[in-house]
Subunit: 249 residues, 2 copies
């Protein structure tokens, strides 16, 4: 077996031990020598696996000492990052949606940049309320370029998973960029979510792309803050994959 | 030079090319063969460097094809993740603070868990307004266990960097766990930040630890949302280091 596969197997095994609580924050990992014996791998391969867990913020990086479990594993599959339905299902909740409007609009200058099209291009715009166990949880404004919209003409779903629908139609969704902040509920959102106007909402702005870098959708998700949060681990000497700006991104 | 160092140098070189815009989203990276020639390294070392960039969400993971730059680099030093002052300075702004209160309190049940102490242990509690170019930006409630508080008895700073102060006193800060969401400004926060009561604020709850897993502080940071946001890149087949829950963390 090549190092390329073997180090991933070792990393995955250790990650599961952390996720399951078998290894707790503060626990020391076995030594490199012991891990290399246990997995019948070279020290280099074991180091490669540990490096990966360090990059994920799971274990400490002190050279020459045994690595320590820092924090509980905070990992999430890509499907769950981009799919509200998927996240609900993983939490044992039933996802749903209420579509408020669905229309073709001109992209205009802002969507033209996000969807890499001209300002006069047609864009499918949906406003929908996402439900979790029938409870309104989030108002979403989602925009699809025309080529993607063509896959959605027959979209019908009780769960609301456009992601799943597009994957089944062969759209290869590959990566996403998300920015989170807060905003005040407007009158429509307040009504849809059952809160007072101007109540605080947790905002996730997300753009999703194919492997070729073509935009699949851009969405503005406004959540009830008690039903959504976002967590991250950061470790010194490891650059974080996230960015926290003074100022709106 | 060992692979352990060499792959970091290759990754760092490519990351800088992405950060500087020399390599743009959509651009293909040079082939593994060409990179291994350019850096006088083995193919294995080049692959190790590319693996690291994939884990950071910067490049695509399609095996057998040349990797593509996915997104602009979103990396941030650990110092900037945990230090508001550091983030201001990097943005060319002057950080400052106004301390509203500073007192020793009993930990109580919630802080006892976060600071790993007994409920009756003494904790230093500070409420302060953080300023950016003299503009109120964030209200922070920050709590220190007694051993750490002893390093802060002579704390005086115009910039407000308790992080820098503790580092200079030899406290080895190693890792952090942060959760972000939204909340409504209470009356005091509204007045301090110059907004109407119940205005939406962006929340960052952060616990910071030494390499031995000892808590250094826990803080609740409530930002004006137009002055703070948080961004992340996610790539399919790569577990994200973050976690997005349906429900409060």
């Amino acid at each position: 077996m090549s190092d390329q596969q073997q180090y991933l197997i070792i990393a995955s095994h250790l990650r599961e031990a952390i996720q399951s609580g078998e290894l707790q924050p503060g626990d020391k990992l076995p030594s490199e020598a012991r891990l290399s014996q246990q997995f019948m791998s070279s020290r280099g391969t074991v180091r490669h696996a540990l490096e990966k867990l360090r990059a994920e913020g799971l274990i400490s990086s002190h050279q020459g000492r045994r690595s320590q479990v820092l924090l509980p594993a905070l990992t999430q599959d890509f499907d769950s990052v981009v799919s509200f339905s998927q996240r609900c299902q993983e939490a044992g909740k039933t996802p749903g949606e209420r579509i408020h409007s669905r229309e073709m609009i001109d992209a205009g200058p802002r969507l033209a940049v996000q969807l890499q099209c001209s300002s006069s291009a047609s864009v499918l715009a949906l406003v929908r309320v996402r439900l979790m166990d029938n409870t309104p949880t989030m108002v979403e404004r989602i925009y699809f370029p025309e080529e993607i919209a063509s896959h959605l003409s027959d979209y019908q779903s009780s769960s609301g998973s456009m992601y799943q629908h597009l994957v089944e139609r062969g759209v290869e969704i590959s990566h996403a960029h998300s920015t989170v902040t807060a905003t005040a509920a407007d009158a429509d959102e307040a009504q849809a979510l059952g809160v007072a106007p101007n109540s605080p909402l947790f905002v996730v702005n997300q753009c999703v792309y194919t492997a070729d870098g073509q935009p699949v959708w851009c969405s503005e998700q406004h959540y009830l803050p008690e039903l959504a949060s976002f967590s991250i681990n950061n470790v010194k000497e490891r650059p974080s994959p996230s960015f926290f700006t003074p100022g709106r991104a």
